[in-house]
């Protein structure tokens, strides 16, 4: 697993994106072997390194210690260029000339303000692809509006499909729009790259991250569209299946009173019969008349109470394994961290460990598509700021050492972040 993937060998992508969504999109392309060159500047560095930078944080090399940043920028190269300077901008356009595509996830006002709109990029390289993935898309009245992954989720309406009716519309408790935006960004780029591979032609690509979440809320959108009524918010209850919920088990050994929670979903009548066998007397009073889904749904609350009473005497991990052994969808509501020790993920070599300066040995989750039975190799950890200035600006763009030194003196390139407004 030491060789870099060659799937997208020969394709070069300039990654202007920041935060989570855009860098994750470009990470997929880097994992597949594209030469992804991330461009930051010493003052306008990726805010995913920190949104609360201080001089102390800079002095402590905080910019290199963000697991968020490091997690989504592996397998890439990194250069710094101050795009607000004429020289930085010119070098950027030279890089565009030698690339297949640019990806960015700024709000719609940023590239034009930098004098780097699509027409300008096209003058440098008439076949360039530009994937723009602002939250609300590159057209329409909200094209310049700002958003995070949480904003994207809110604007998609998805919270109206989750939780209990008596609670507030419920979010997914991560910056949900970001990771999905990353998937759509990579997808959009690949579609454009395929057209370019066939015809040589580049183009603009417009991705609205908010619209990218509609497929995840499709069940609610179609409920409204097909039935002309709002989707219900029934907590963990399901309109077709019962039991269907999350049930309390015995507390973890290192916890005092908080139950460990167990997901149980019975999707068919055979699974119901299997659940009755596993739980013994606990569900025995639900006789044959409840051997159909609709019958069980009609008494879902009573089943939930009986099942919860039984699970509350059980150790969660053991009972999850027993239920799965009986063919029932069950899983402990575990910590994300527990996935690091998941036997199945480790059998499949999902976690790849990489030594990274400033932070040491770190786990990295593989791309979720394995090729011929092997995960795609993660060869290089996330680059440090400006790590490849010489390699890219020198070897690729032909800047001499003296020119590079002059650029560094002027603060146009560098390897350490600076507080905004401190360029000499």
């Amino acid at each position: 697993m030491t060789d870099r993937a060659t799937t997208l060998k020969g394709i070069r992508i300039v990654d202007l994106s920041m935060g989570w969504a855009g860098p994750l999109a470009a990470r997929h392309l880097a994992d597949m072997g594209a030469d992804v060159i991330k461009v930051e500047s010493c003052e306008r560095f990726d805010w995913w390194r920190s949104w609360e930078a201080t001089p102390e944080w800079i002095a402590d090399n905080g910019a290199e210690k963000s697991e968020r940043y490091n997690g989504v920028n592996r397998n890439k190269r990194n250069v710094t260029l101050d795009l607000e300077s004429a020289e930085g901008r010119e070098l950027f356009l030279q890089l565009v000339k030698k690339s297949n595509a640019v990806i960015e996830n700024f709000s719609g006002s940023v590239l034009p303000k930098l004098g780097l709109d699509y027409d300008t990029l096209k003058q440098a390289n008439k076949d360039i692809i530009l994937v723009s993935m602002p939250a609300f898309g590159t057209t329409g009245p909200w094209q310049k509006f700002r958003a995070y992954g949480s904003t994207v989720e809110q604007a998609s309406g998805l919270p109206h499909m989750n939780g209990f009716a008596e609670d507030l519309p419920t979010m997914q408790h991560v910056a949900y729009g970001d990771a999905v935006g990353g998937l759509n960004g990579a997808s959009a780029m690949l579609v454009a790259l395929r057209h370019q591979a066939r015809t040589g032609e580049g183009q603009r690509v417009d991705l609205s991250q908010v619209e990218g979440l509609f497929p995840l809320g499709i069940h609610g959108i179609l409920h409204q569209s097909a039935l002309d009524e709002a989707p219900p918010r029934n907590g963990n209850a399901h309109s077709e299946f019962a039991p269907h919920g999350v049930y309390p088990c015995l507390p973890d050994s290192d916890s005092d009173s908080e139950p460990t929670w167990l997901l149980v979903q019975v999707f068919d009548d055979n699974q119901w019969l299997a659940l009755k066998r596993v739980t013994g007397e606990a569900l025995a009073h639900f006789d044959k008349s409840y051997n159909s889904g609709p019958a069980r749904v009609s008494v879902a609350q009573q089943i939930d109470e009986a099942l919860a009473q039984w699970t509350s005497t059980q150790e969660a991990n053991s009972v999850a394994a027993v239920l799965q052994g009986a063919g029932i969808a069950a899983a402990v509501a575990r910590r994300a961290f527990d996935a690091l020790h998941d036997p199945h993920l480790n059998e499949r070599k999902f976690w790849q460990w990489q030594e990274r300066v400033f932070v040491g040995n770190q786990p990295n989750g593989s791309a979720a598509y394995q090729v011929n039975g092997q995960p795609i190799a993660i060869v290089n950890p996330a680059p440090t700021l400006g790590e490849h200035n010489t390699e890219v600006l020198g070897e690729l763009l032909g800047q001499t050492n003296a020119q590079l030194e002059a650029l560094e003196t002027k603060g146009i390139i560098g390897t350490k972040p600076r507080m905004p407004g401190t360029r000499s």
Binding site: L8, G140, V152, Q154, V191, A192, I218, A336, A339, Q370
Partner: protein
């Protein structure tokens, strides 16, 4: 007939899961010829609710319709071996859910399997579901009221994520063969559970480094910041996120809470999150008296990332979505029309296909019976 950036590609779906169909849908949206090679009674998705009225039961699923517009439906058993072999060998991509082990990649094509866990011993016989994936990636534990129970995200979200992830790997390999980067057939395998780790993998590393773990803090309360949630206003719902000090400052001004704007405790996201119980009642009370529409626009003018949070009824009328044509219309075999989301990304020179026709079961079988 087929236009778009993926024109000229044939994709054959023999799996018929939500994941394989979503993956294939992205191909179809951009002009690939997608053939559903279905069993005699059709793919199981044909029966998923909700259903549209006035359509035959095998064609009436709204979800199936949305997933399969512009695809072709062929009943596999109506083709002879030669026909099937010709269809398969001419495909750039075969999509499977893991239940058809004999259908291997041939020539230079890609066989892409999407299953809950992928191959491997530990979960070889496990039953997967969207909920199981949310439990295993750690998200389920964190959603909902502090006292529990944790809340299962609804719908098919994990399966869509799995399909989208497989699309990336699959199209990458298709391009690889067209670029000459690959000259052999290739077997891809996407685990939906692993795809779902995209939401929490960074958190895993964070916990590894810090020893700290995300726990359930209450509805719409989660790291890295506060305020971040959905609030009722006098005319609808407002989505709020204030992350940076300047966003917090502007948000306080919008709500006429300037006295909190500069308090040192509230200058960091973590500081505000720790003080959320103090701030939450005030923010709720202020916003209830304000217009979500007004605060949204004024906030965005000050670079505060606010959102309207449309109900499903409102969603189809949101200015931004209407202007962009975010929704389109699909036609069912007996003529029913349904409004559905269009494809999430648009190419300007080779635009995606908007809307389309849902094929009745076996509607295209005859097209592929040549011998």
């Amino acid at each position: 007939m087929f236009e778009g950036a993926l024109a000229g590609l044939r994709v054959v779906d023999i799996g018929g899961s939500v994941s394989t169909q979503y993956c294939a849908k992205l191909f179809a949206d951009h002009g690939a010829e997608v053939i559903n090679l279905e069993p005699p009674n059709g793919f199981a998705t044909r029966l998923l609710p909700p259903v549209v009225s006035n359509e035959h039961s095998s064609n009436a699923s709204a979800l199936h319709g949305w997933l399969n517009a512009n695809k072709r439906s062929v009943v596999a058993s109506a083709l002879n071996e030669v026909d099937i072999k010709r269809v398969l060998t001419s495909a750039a991509l075969l999509l499977d859910d893991g239940n058809n082990p004999g259908w291997l990649a041939t020539g230079v094509n890609v066989r892409s399997v999407i299953s809950w866990f992928g191959t491997g011993e530990s979960y070889a016989n496990y039953t997967g579901s969207d909920g199981v994936c949310f439990a295993m990636n750690g998200m389920l534990r964190t959603i909902g009221r502090i006292e529990g129970p944790p809340l299962i995200p609804t719908g098919y979200q994990a399966q869509i994520v799995g399909g989208n992830t497989a699309f990336i790997g699959s199209l990458g390999e298709v391009i690889a063969s067209e670029l000459g980067n690959r000259t052999e057939p290739v077997n891809l395998e996407t685990s939906i559970m692993e795809a779902m780790m995209c939401f929490t993998e960074v958190g895993v590393v964070g916990s590894y480094n810090s020893g700290l773990h995300a726990e359930r803090m209450g509805v719409n309360r989660f790291p890295p910041t506060y305020p971040m949630g959905v609030y009722p206003c006098k005319d609808g719902w407002l989505g709020v996120t204030a992350l940076t000090p300047s966003q917090w400052h502007s948000f306080c001004e919008l709500l006429d809470m300037q006295e909190f704007a500069d308090l040192p405790l509230f200058q960091t996201a973590v500081g505000r999150l720790e003080a959320a119980d103090i701030l939450e009642p005030m923010i709720q009370e202020k916003l209830l008296l304000l217009s979500a529409e007004d605060v949204f626009y004024r906030g965005q003018q000050q670079a505060v990332p606010l959102a309207r949070v449309p109900t499903m009824e409102e969603l189809f009328r949101v200015d931004q979505f209407v202007e962009r044509g975010a929704f389109t219309s699909i036609n069912f075999p007996a003529g029913t029309q349904l409004t559905v989301p269009g494809t999430p990304f648009r190419l300007f020179t080779t635009p995606p296909i908007a809307g389309g026709q849902v094929a009745a079961l076996g509607a295209h079988t005859g097209n592929y019976q040549n011998d």
